[in-house]
Symmetry: C2
Subunit: 288 residues, 2 copies
């Protein structure tokens, strides 16, 4: 014999709040309604759940046990809706997590082409760890890492490389160098923006924080680039896309941390779903 959910919900509130009045206010229903519901519940179970004296009800021993099991049943009910809605969304969206912004920009048109009609969800993360966890939790279906993940549960493929550059005014002391290292940049005030994923970790570790002028938006960054002659970070991929500013030169950074190889990965179990995407990615990489 099954108990209707609304009875369990009301009972749980009564058990938690202690009085019918308090519970009725929480549930936005009247006390008489609750009073009847509790009687109905007791009647359906065929047991007494409360110790009633004139204007007071308290859970008896059976009531305490019932409250415990009611909570479990309600939890299972809540989990149902939560998981079903989550699953439904997951099958009609393709979700991509990335450690850097550039691969997202490159992949979005590809994904739209391969999964027409599906919603695209992209998210930037600072660390590979949170991306890997997100993949396991089905928060992401595809992730872009900056280090090769040694995990058999993953299907992984090499993606593009990116080389960090510093962009300087033409008349800057470093402007005529073929390359610079992070140590050359020490003491320089450099413009940056958030939303650059793991690059933030790299630059913060290599340079002291007072030197990094971190902006909260790309707009603010671009404003300051135009309005000042301060150096800012760039990359071969950005430059390839034509992201240049007049009277500046861009110089590669020689440290190995300034060069990255991106890896694209999905769960092995979902390999088939992304086969054609991975093939396209492979040919893109070979071509580029």
């Amino acid at each position: 014999m099954l108990i209707e959910t609304y009875l369990l919900e009301q009972f749980e509130a009564v058990a938690r709040r202690g009085t019918l009045l308090a519970a009725s206010e929480e549930l936005h229903i009247s006390q008489p309604s609750l009073s009847r519901s509790m009687k109905k519940l007791e009647n359906e179970l065929g047991v007494s759940l409360f110790h009633r004296e004139n204007s007071k009800i308290t859970l008896n021993e059976t009531g305490k046990v019932a409250a415990d099991y009611a909570k479990r049943a309600l939890d299972a009910n809540r989990e149902l809706t939560e998981r079903v809605i989550q699953f439904d969304r997951s099958i009609r969206t393709v979700s991509l997590g990335s450690c850097a912004p550039f691969p997202i920009n490159e992949l979005v048109p590809l994904l739209q082409e391969h999964f027409p009609g599906k919603t695209l969800s992209t998210e930037l993360q600072n660390s590979d760890e949170s991306l890997l966890k997100g993949l396991e939790n089905h928060l992401y279906q595809l992730i872009i890492l900056h280090e090769y993940p040694n995990d058999k549960k993953l299907f992984c493929q090499r993606y593009l490389d990116e080389q960090l550059y510093i962009t300087l005014p033409k008349d800057h002391p470093l402007a005529n160098k073929k390359s610079v290292s992070f140590s050359n940049l020490a003491g320089l005030r450099i413009l940056m923006a958030t939303g650059i994923g793991f690059w933030m970790t790299v630059t913060s570790e290599k340079l002291s924080s007072p030197d990094l002028l971190i902006q909260n938006s790309m707009d603010a960054l671009n404003e300051l680039i135009d309005a000042s002659s301060l150096p800012f970070f760039n990359s071969d991929q950005m430059l390839r896309l034509g992201y240049r500013v007049p009277d500046r030169v861009s110089i590669p950074i020689s440290d190995e941390e300034a060069h990255v190889t991106y890896w694209i990965a999905c769960l092995s179990s979902e390999k088939e779903k992304f086969r054609s995407l991975f093939n396209t990615v492979r040919s893109t990489v070979l071509r580029g």
Copy 2:
């Protein structure tokens, strides 16, 4: 957001049976009603659960996930009623399990005296193991064992002894003996009844089965005792209660298996509840 139980119940039936018609027959409601319920469920979850073509509905991927979680929610609901009813009964009954009938007869009046108003439930078991398991499962609150249980979770106290006798016609070859052993009884046809707990195990092990004329009821046994001069088992406790038959003599059986010491036990956690009963039992044992 919570889903009413009746919707989950109906959905579970549809998922299990495959068609609305089959499910509606199982649930004793009409198809149109089920059709509406499934639409309502989809509407409340905000997802599609079925793949519909003209006169056919099948679960889609989301529907399969939903069916799984619906089953869990329903199981939790069923467990609620089951456990609550079981608990409620357990607190208004005292349940005794025993390895032999005699202690039950002795304890019933005592229990009625100590727990007025409570329902008494008694059960006979053949083995100490099933009694101990029943105690842990809260199937029994008190058990009578024939061997001392070495378990710290139990509160245990020595109860009465019982000595097995054989009752024979006065002119039987063994009738003038002071005592006999099981080996003396070999080949003798002996009347017995079921419902004697562990004694059945003892006698079956000591004597070969064709010699034991086992009756399904005490009535049948008593009929045959009156109608024949066949030997039957007895005990000091039964004799003490005046259970004698004319022209028969009762002789103790000398094997150590024919003598038993009963132990009464409850869970240590319920020790307090039975303290006064245990005290009475102790004084009874000392007196007897």
